[in-house]
């Protein structure tokens, strides 16, 4: 067993040395592979950054209930107790008409505004923080709350949140689609690279078979070659996306600041990086395995 591991380690090392020795031959394949990986990765990072930001936005989605002008203490108390008991509501606060008016005066820098008014035109209001983030549920809740007695309207910009949510969903699906398509491309590219290698080393393979090499022996260097290529391509793709994140972030930040938002493109987490490396190595090895299974069978020495 120890010996078996030693032999595998030997092949792994030899395969890496081979790649490093002929950097130009490998470079083209490597470039293709890493771009194939970098595309879905960048999309994934973009979508998940948007989702993170959207999550922060809707983390405190609020529904504002404006009461009718004629609402009285008892009505307010009734609404207040409904809100307290409601299972979908996290918390709420009450903004009375007087407070609303003074807030308005303060904010607009118009002290004495109320002096000119005989009646306070502002309604009493409840600011409700729901438990759910899901736009559809929010909409349902808003409808339900607007139906409470003496509630004039319940305001919540559900359409906007829904659109954002939909876009994130679509982005996720696109990421999956692109990831799957380019994953297949990765398998095909290594399949082809290994096929070429097998054909180029046909004589060697024939002789090895003649003197008793099993397929596993012949396959081993190709498998390790593919594994390294997958790992290196994964690392290169990580480099490309990191570069994208670093160069794009200042511009995104500046743009987002115009809207008082802190949006940032995030990079891959260490766990995500490991997953990417593992997947790209495995896909490359799958391609190598398919190619060698197919082509080694065709090489029968005579």
């Amino acid at each position: 067993m120890k010996h078996f591991l030693y032999l595998n380690w030997q092949s792994a090392r030899q395969a890496l040395v081979k790649i490093l020795r002929q950097p130009f031959g490998s470079l083209l394949t490597l470039l293709m592979l890493s771009i194939a990986l970098a595309l879905p990765l960048s999309l994934y990072l973009t979508v998940s950054s948007i989702q993170e930001w959207a999550g922060r936005l809707t983390a405190t989605p609020q529904i504002t209930l404006f009461m009718e002008q004629s609402a009285e203490e008892a009505d307010l108390a009734a609404v207040s107790s409904t809100l307290t008991k409601h299972p979908r509501i996290q918390s709420y606060s009450f903004v009375g008409k007087k407070q609303a008016l003074s807030d308005l005066e303060k904010r607009n820098g118009l002290p004495g505004l109320s002096d000119g008014l005989t009646d306070n035109p502002l309604p009493d209001a409840f600011v409700v923080t729901p438990k759910t983030l899901e736009p559809h549920e929010l909409e349902m809740l808003q409808k339900e709350l607007s139906g409470l007695p003496m509630v004039e309207t319940a305001q919540f910009d559900a359409r906007w949140a829904k659109r954002l949510y939909g876009m994130v969903e679509m982005g996720k699906q696109l990421t999956w689609f692109l990831g799957a398509a380019l994953g297949i491309a990765l398998v095909l590219v290594t399949h082809n690279a290994v096929r070429m290698q097998i054909l180029a080393r046909r004589d060697e393979i024939e002789v090895a078979k003649l003197i008793g090499a099993p397929d596993s022996f012949i396959r081993r260097p190709f498998m390790y070659h593919a594994m390294w290529q997958g790992l290196l391509a994964g690392l290169a793709a990580w480099g490309l996306t990191s570069w994208l994140v670093i160069t794009a972030n200042p511009a995104i930040h500046e743009f987002a600041q115009l809207y008082n938002e802190a949006v940032q493109l995030r990079g891959l987490s260490p766990v995500e990086l490991l997953v990417v490396l593992a997947i790209s190595a495995l896909l490359a090895m799958l391609g190598a395995r398919l190619a060698s299974d197919h082509h080694l069978r065709q090489i029968q020495p005579r």
């Binding site: 010996h3 078996f4 032999l7 030997q10 004589d203 060697e204 024939e206 002789v207 090895a208 078979k209 003649l210 003197i211 008793g212 090499a213 099993p214 397929d215 022996f217 020495p301 005579r302």
Partner: protein
């Protein structure tokens, strides 16, 4: 005596209908040294290829050290070959690697420890008188040297069965005798040896069994 090779009514028909061997039955004992004689096209190479599992019998059974090759799955054939050393008529050397690396290949295949392997490779090269050329490329070797390199590769992993297909072809008599002596020395340490040649004069001096083939059958 145990049998190393047993042919039972073996016929080999190549694609295209060419019958290279016709209904052959014979045995070769373990530890025996036997010769295979016959003119060009008699079927000598075909017979040896059947023993090594390089070709499969069209009918009949080929049993090598107790294993019926006709019944073996092709994925198991390599492990049979690992116990066989074969000197190929056309050498089958790898010209993109050194003499040393050519001889290393069988040991790599059976997964021999690298350091012990280097010692074994040098011992085999020494035996065929090529130790001083271990770093050369095979293309720089003479025809006879290439033949000897092929022999070194065939014996380096100490096979129990050695098959040599015309190992002394194209060599002058002195060289050919050298090579015969070499095979005899393997035979003396217990290896079963089968050597083919179309020139019988060399064989007769050894007083061993000679299997004579003619058009795929035993010659009278």
């Amino acid at each position: 005596m145990q049998r190393m090779i047993q042919f039972d009514q073996v016929t080999k028909r190549y694609p295209g209908g060419n019958e290279a061997l016709k209904n052959l039955s014979f045995t070769i004992d373990t530890g025996e040294m036997a010769f295979l004689a016959g003119h060009s096209g008699a079927g000598k190479s075909t017979l040896l290829k059947l023993v090594a599992g390089i070709e499969r019998a069209s009918s009949g059974s080929v049993i090598v050290s107790g294993q019926n090759l006709s019944k073996l799955r092709s994925s198991q054939i390599p492990y049979v070959r690992q116990h066989i050393g074969m000197v190929f008529q056309d050498h089958k050397l790898l010209f993109d690697r050194s003499v040393f690396d050519n001889v290393m290949l069988p040991l790599d295949i059976i997964g021999f420890d690298r350091r012990d392997a280097a010692r074994r490779v040098r011992a085999a090269l020494d035996k065929v008188g090529l130790l001083s050329k271990e770093k050369s490329m095979p293309i720089r070797l003479s025809g006879g040297e290439q033949q000897r390199l092929c022999i070194a590769r065939a014996v380096v992993h100490r096979p129990s069965l050695l098959l040599a297909d015309e190992p002394s072809a194209n060599l002058d008599r002195a060289y050919a005798l050298d090579i015969m002596e070499l095979f005899k020395s393997f035979h003396q340490v217990g290896v079963t040896v089968v050597i083919s040649a179309h020139d019988e004069t060399l064989m007769e001096d050894y007083g061993r069994r000679i299997i004579r083939l003619k058009e795929g059958q035993f010659a009278a």
